[in-house]
């Protein structure tokens, strides 16, 4: 990227704001940076006081994480449950958001609030009934169960996000398509979908991240067979003690895929978010 000549001297308020922005960024980034650093230390270096800022990086934690537990199985579980639940959620949320955005009724507002209200109850409140249900149906420790749970728990957020994206599309564009002879499916496929692709992508990515990082349900409802990476991380804070370096290495392995996906879809997301801004 090339920049034009540097801007003239910053004014005092701008300078203050810039410093504040940097400070906030550092505070937010610090735990993540510390996690990455710790993952490459030995257990002893990891707990040394004062903390080490210069050391010889080691990969032994990663080797041990792979030795001790089957990282690939957990990663596959995370990948399958989060991707499938996101796709399923989009398929369910998009028609709901469509009807609420374009065929508003007197109860639309209420339905939206009701959907959101299900997110207001702490998840633990539903743990016992859901555990019993899962046990009775024989779904405990299966990917299917987690996929269903992730889909349902993310559904309200997806409907809300898609609703706000759909609402921004002028109604008349869809009416114009109808006047042009488009069937409902053609109207959706040829006009609405291209316009909301960015919204679908950003909603999908958010729910993918939420499902990927979900810990409560996966810790409580799965173990060896369908456990996700959240379970893998948690296993390092065990009765045998806290292993900071290995915990960090496992965490790093757990978040790496999603960070990579986010990094690569960044451009498309930003593009998608500004795409419909034509009137």
């Amino acid at each position: 990227m090339t920049h034009a000549a540097p801007p003239p001297r910053m004014s005092a308020p701008l300078l203050a704001r810039t410093i504040a922005a940097w400070l906030v960024t550092l505070v937010i980034f610090f735990p993540l940076g510390w996690l990455v650093a710790t993952a490459f230390k030995t257990e002893l270096q990891a707990i040394s006081v004062p903390p080490l800022f210069v050391w010889k990086p080691t990969l032994e934690n990663f080797a041990e994480v792979q030795d001790r537990s089957n990282y690939l199985l957990f990663a596959a579980n995370s990948l399958i449950t989060s991707v499938v639940s996101t796709l399923l959620g989009l398929a369910l949320a998009a028609p709901a958001a469509y009807s609420m955005a374009f065929f508003r009724g007197s109860r639309t507002r209420g339905v939206l609030m009701w959907m959101l209200s299900t997110k207001m109850m702490p998840a633990v409140g539903a743990l016992v009934p859901i555990y019993v249900l899962a046990q009775t149906t024989g779904l405990l420790d299966t990917r299917l169960l987690l996929t269903i749970i992730f889909t349902l728990s993310n559904l309200p957020i997806m409907v809300w996000m898609l609703y706000s994206h759909f609402k921004d599309i002028p109604h008349e564009i869809l009416e114009a398509a109808r006047m042009d002879g488009a069937s409902l499916w053609q109207e959706f496929r040829r006009v609405l979908l291209p316009l909301v692709l960015g919204g679908l992508a950003s909603t999908g990515l958010l729910c993918l991240v939420l499902a990927w990082n979900e810990a409560f349900w996966s810790l409580n409802l799965t173990s060896a067979k369908a456990g996700t990476l959240a379970g893998l991380i948690a296993s390092y804070s065990s009765p045998e003690g806290l292993f900071w370096a290995k915990l960090s290495a496992a965490s790093l392995l757990a978040i790496a895929p999603i960070v990579v996906i986010g990094w690569f879809s960044q451009k498309q997301l930003v593009q998608g978010l500004t795409f419909g801004a034509v009137k």
């Binding site: 008349e172 564009i173 114009a176 002879g181 488009a182 069937s183 291209p194 034509v278």
Partner: protein, 346 residues
């Protein structure tokens, strides 16, 4: 039977009766304009013809077919929206060809029709641009082009000029009139601007509160308004309407005593400013608007009523001057207490 026929059409939004039973017949190739103040139901009526609003009662017939409950996509009508409603993700060419593609027309035919519409509307240099790269006037033309390529049974326009600036509005209005003359397409056009209605229409439908006040050619509406509302809605500045009781001398104009509660209407161009003491009414000048070709003189009568006179001559009229107003009795209108026209002298 007419080409497009509305029979007892009604539309309710809950308790609100938006369209209260409208009958209307539109002939083939006719240019019909719906005009009325905002909230009169003109856009709703157009959208009911388009199928974008359901018809609660009554029927809509097009070319011998009942389309009351046919979905918009199967009505073979084209609509130009106030906001243009172009597809932002498609180029100008794609916008215009969308309907033909959906209908499964041959690519060669599509290309020919789009090229033809682009030529008529001078859009040829812009065919590959997207709507956001166009000016307001160009977007407007694309919206019209999108309607033209389809050769629909009826063109529907919903206030298509209201987003354009004044100069462009006049220019586009002239182009629309020419376009209609060239294509000879049946057109229904909604506007709140009575000048657009007068200049474009073969027939004007004046609406108020969900009912038709009058249907007629522009000059019929101007010369023989059915009631006080139409009389004052059509024409700028609007017709002077005065309670007959306030100006008893008007009785002489009609050669008979004016009924109690009646109103007299006079177009501003039928009033002539005279020196004080002459004419039918005496008053003082409130305001003078010099427009160059014409001068509008606002006169307050001794009784306090304001009358506007449109003069084609220029004279040294000053605010505060005492003047008389001469009325052209041949063109005076008499409305009864309910506002209905009872006598037009012309």
């Amino acid at each position: 039977m007419a080409f497009l026929e509305l029979k007892g059409v009604e539309k309710n939004y809950g308790a609100l009766r938006a369209i209260k039973g409208i009958d209307l017949a539109v002939e083939k190739r006719e240019f019909v304009v719906f005009v009325g103040p905002s909230g009169c139901g003109k856009s709703t009526l157009l959208r009911m013809i388009a199928g974008l609003e359901s018809v609660d009662r009554g029927s809509v017939q097009l070319d011998g077919r009942d389309i009351t409950h046919v979905p918009s996509s199967k009505r073979d009508l084209a609509m130009v929206f106030q906001s243009y409603a172009l597809y932002p993700h498609m180029s100008v060419a794609e916008n215009m060809s969308f309907a033909l593609k959906l209908a499964g027309a041959a690519p060669a035919l599509i290309k020919e029709k789009v090229a033809n519409a682009a030529r008529i509307l001078s859009l040829e240099p812009y065919l590959h641009r997207t709507p956001k790269e166009l000016s307001g006037g160009q977007r407007q033309r694309v919206a019209i082009g999108r309607a033209i390529v389809r050769s629909p049974k009826v063109f529907l326009f919903d206030e298509p000029l209201s987003n354009l600036d004044a100069a462009l509005r006049v220019q586009t209005r002239i182009e629309l009139a020419k376009l209609h003359r060239d294509l000879g397409a049946t057109t229904i056009y909604v506007t709140h601007d009575q000048v657009e209605a007068m200049t474009l229409a073969d027939r004007v439908v004046v609406l108020r509160d969900g009912i038709v006040e009058q249907v007629g050619t522009p000059l019929e509406l101007y010369d023989k308004p059915a009631n006080q509302f139409v009389a004052q809605f059509i024409g700028t500045p609007k017709m002077n309407v005065v309670a007959a009781a306030e100006l008893p001398q008007l009785g002489e104009l009609f050669g008979a005593p004016v009924p109690t509660g009646a109103f007299v209407g006079m177009r501003p161009e039928n009033l002539t400013v005279q020196p004080a003491g002459k004419g039918h009414v005496q008053g003082r000048i409130d305001l003078v608007e010099s427009l160059g070709a014409e001068t509008l003189v606002y006169v307050r009568t001794d009784k306090g009523t304001q009358l506007v006179a449109r003069q084609n001559t220029r004279a040294a009229w000053h605010v505060g001057d005492q003047v008389g107003l001469e009325m052209d009795r041949a063109s005076a209108h008499l409305f009864d207490a309910q506002g209905r026209l009872t006598a037009a002298q012309s």
